[in-house]
Symmetry: D2
Subunit: 311 residues, 4 copies
Amino acid sequence: MSYEAGLVPAFLIPDKPITRGDTMSRTADTWILAAQCPSRLGTVDVVTRFLKEQHCYITELNSFDDRLSGRFFIRAEFRPEVEGFGGEAFHDAFAPRAAEFAMEFELTPPGKRMGTVILVSKADHCLNDLLYRYRIGQLPLDIRAVISNHPDLESLAAWHGLPYYHCPITSETKPQQEAQVQEIIEETGAELVVLARYMQVLSPAMCERLAGRAINIHHSLLPGFKGAKPYHQAYEKGVKLVGATAHYINNDLDEGPIIAQGVEPVDHAHYPEDLVAKGRDIECLTLARAIGYHLERRVFLHAGRTVVLGN
Amino acid sequence: MSYEAGLVPAFLIPDKPITRGDTMSRTADTWILAAQCPSRLGTVDVVTRFLKEQHCYITELNSFDDRLSGRFFIRAEFRPEVEGFGGEAFHDAFAPRAAEFAMEFELTPPGKRMGTVILVSKADHCLNDLLYRYRIGQLPLDIRAVISNHPDLESLAAWHGLPYYHCPITSETKPQQEAQVQEIIEETGAELVVLARYMQVLSPAMCERLAGRAINIHHSLLPGFKGAKPYHQAYEKGVKLVGATAHYINNDLDEGPIIAQGVEPVDHAHYPEDLVAKGRDIECLTLARAIGYHLERRVFLHAGRTVVLGN
Amino acid sequence: MSYEAGLVPAFLIPDKPITRGDTMSRTADTWILAAQCPSRLGTVDVVTRFLKEQHCYITELNSFDDRLSGRFFIRAEFRPEVEGFGGEAFHDAFAPRAAEFAMEFELTPPGKRMGTVILVSKADHCLNDLLYRYRIGQLPLDIRAVISNHPDLESLAAWHGLPYYHCPITSETKPQQEAQVQEIIEETGAELVVLARYMQVLSPAMCERLAGRAINIHHSLLPGFKGAKPYHQAYEKGVKLVGATAHYINNDLDEGPIIAQGVEPVDHAHYPEDLVAKGRDIECLTLARAIGYHLERRVFLHAGRTVVLGN
Amino acid sequence: MSYEAGLVPAFLIPDKPITRGDTMSRTADTWILAAQCPSRLGTVDVVTRFLKEQHCYITELNSFDDRLSGRFFIRAEFRPEVEGFGGEAFHDAFAPRAAEFAMEFELTPPGKRMGTVILVSKADHCLNDLLYRYRIGQLPLDIRAVISNHPDLESLAAWHGLPYYHCPITSETKPQQEAQVQEIIEETGAELVVLARYMQVLSPAMCERLAGRAINIHHSLLPGFKGAKPYHQAYEKGVKLVGATAHYINNDLDEGPIIAQGVEPVDHAHYPEDLVAKGRDIECLTLARAIGYHLERRVFLHAGRTVVLGN
């Protein structure tokens, strides 16, 4: 099958106006190639030429060159136009070309649901929101476990058919608890860890192990009110906006690379408890947005910042 | 003239549907009474009963009790329904009642334009925006002078028919320059001082003299990136939102009570110069909004925070 | 108990700075008085004087006079400062004074949870969101039943311990089905009916019966794309924003008085299915916001518009 | 000059952390290639391979395939890495390759300022805003004339050193007036026409001549309140949001392809005049944003919709 004859394949041409009620999925059959490397002439071409050779039709392409750090980022959504396209063969054939550019890349097949473990404490608003999006298929997660240092949210997880691990923690048992959590992550083969208001500071070693694959939601705009009770601080300061920040964790819990931020107006009549309530909505939305970007391989990490392509 | 007979005055009843094209001003003939005092039973009644006795019809009323600080705030827009209403007589008659509640109050007649001095440096976006709103009457300012430590913006002021004072400043001449600025403020009788990107840190003495009547625009959300070049800091941190904060100045230039905040989404592709450009719009809008609240006597200062009623 | 001696009651004065971690509820012990009447001198005073006489401390007060329609609206949150305050006695004592102003009023005690029936179809995002807010007490609802023309959402209701009524509907059985729904509403004593994506056009008679106490969420900004599949229309038009509108129902299902609206940016890459997904979040938030305003008696209906005080 | 040796050119590697205060322009030396054609395998490759061959380094690349209409859109910002790069030679060499894909393309050199004519009536808020952005270089416009059917805004244009043409119009003289306007557009060689609150409906012939290069600002969200006085309609409807729409004109003045939309919350206390004031800010921002996208060649027109890449 080839388009060299200049023909547009029939399925690309709607033979009638869009019938309302039909929804043609934009991504149901598309693969994603995400890559980054040092800036250098030919970085785009090495990707796009290869896709062409492999008879892959690019449906969405975004690249960005960060002149300030000399780093190049690219993300392509594409649809193979050949029978028997195989991800492994593609990967192996592309690897040597990528190597010439010191390019790191990742290939993601359509319909991939990412193995995920969710860490929570007692507050359930983010968990409730994520499980809803998971249940209706809006976020292509494959949730393997919900872990908490409290027993409270077990029935919520159970209703969604998810295993729940109660791993209590004290300052004394922290190393053992983290080992326990780490074991669950490894045994379930989770690629993503979501801290959905987990409220615990991870040890540097744990942060290190989860670098680039653990997303936290911080209940404040960063930089901003750090430490405990940011909504109380916000009230005392009389801010007119409150916000939330979703970020990859790093050693400094609330200081990792930012993926998404949300904000909402407030006023003097918002007591700390009202700010907390406002914050719940923003936290849910911002965390869900960040996870969506991560799952769609839109987020690139480099030099402590993220590049989010095509969001 | 009295409504005690139960009659609604004719002008309050539109005898036909709103004719499109008519605009009936909501505030052209309304006075404003703004007051605050310690929380105590009767604080509302002392205001509203007096207004009733004076045959003043309240068109908008907002009060707020801050339980956390034990402070009460009230703002009433009203329209006298009697011939010969006089602000001075009203003031004198109300003063002893207010005193019983340790109530501070301010009475503002309709159409009052507030005497204002604007301080600028070289950046003209906020000045340009304010002068436009001044010119079309959107902000009821009576601008008496534009003062700058640079000569650059003279022609902009001149085009609007405004006197421009070039008061250069160095670290050595700061006391003299501030005295000069203070003199202009006093001679023009300005009640309001707007720091429209003035870029100079005022001395504690100057801050003290202008307490509660000088509004600054800070090019960052507060708390947030402090110090120089917040947009560069925002870029390095990879924030997904930038914002601006309008606040009353206090001794710590960028830390005064917040009046208004604005925000706009950005992404990795916004270099510092792009963030600066984004920031210009937010700064203009946020400063104009804060000045509007101040002119309408919506802003109350207490304990380092503002209460903004009915915005 | 009286404050006439000029003393501020001790509990109003925090004797120490706010301890972070404490949350002093702003409304846990406050009553709400909401009223409207024709514009006329004394409308505020009749309310505030009575509250003073009854030893009620007003913690938040908002009034608005709509000059264009000659109508006055007022809402007061207050805290009785006497032992043995009773709503019924208050009501009876205030009624004759209100009558002099042709004033309609409603008194709501603290902690009141409003009897509510929720109508749904198959889509569960709004229901899921409302049940969450109900469960954590963010919305003081007393949900008495979930009614649907489909059986799909029964387990969701069941998990929250709520009765679920499956009332199928066809064009032939519409009158009977509406009678059935009406009966449930009446038997449960529900004061509020929420159409959380119910997808059925109510008959004029049903609309009439539910006037002012049934809130619908429309998946578009109004006015805007009416009729079926507004997200498909939005896609074809290439809009850069999508929104939702929460409103009281009236005879024209999607045209009732607007209570709240929400909006989110989109772009060309949002296919109809993506717009639907974006819409889910906005619909949830906008509906929850509108219900919150209604429960807090902030919404006043007059002449086909709403006035929302102090939101 | 070649990077085939695998070396990253020195200027791409910052040898020190970004010095705050430096701003490295992201686009000062970049060309733009914008193209569209029917969807077909190889559409990306034909562009990116050519850029590689021409030693052009791509700094930002975005492509989008609209599956629903079978159309492909691409935009590349690139920096030639060779001496003596010439746009004309590039164009001539690329044309035959583009032709194979029925690809329309446009090449824009760095620093290009687009010849522009602005049409206004009496309202000056958008003009004032655009002239400010023009003056500080934020919008790379080369404004050749301001045309109005009223004399009022001459001094504003004059202060910016711009020729002002007063072309009055009546229903009788409309054809002659449009001919006059058209003549000015042609004589000045303007590529872009901005209707900055021009308030006149252009004739179909005029719309036809200006297709794809005339941007209008409509003072409402579209679809929405059409016809005269949308802010009055918005007030009567009691909307909680007002907005503005910037779009290319077509035969139906307020119905052309949407480029950008803005929105702001309002409430019952916003009388029509207040909505007009709110609208001014949104109109300015939305129009400026749309013009910016157009100047940066981000906007593609197809089938009555726009695709806006990388905004």
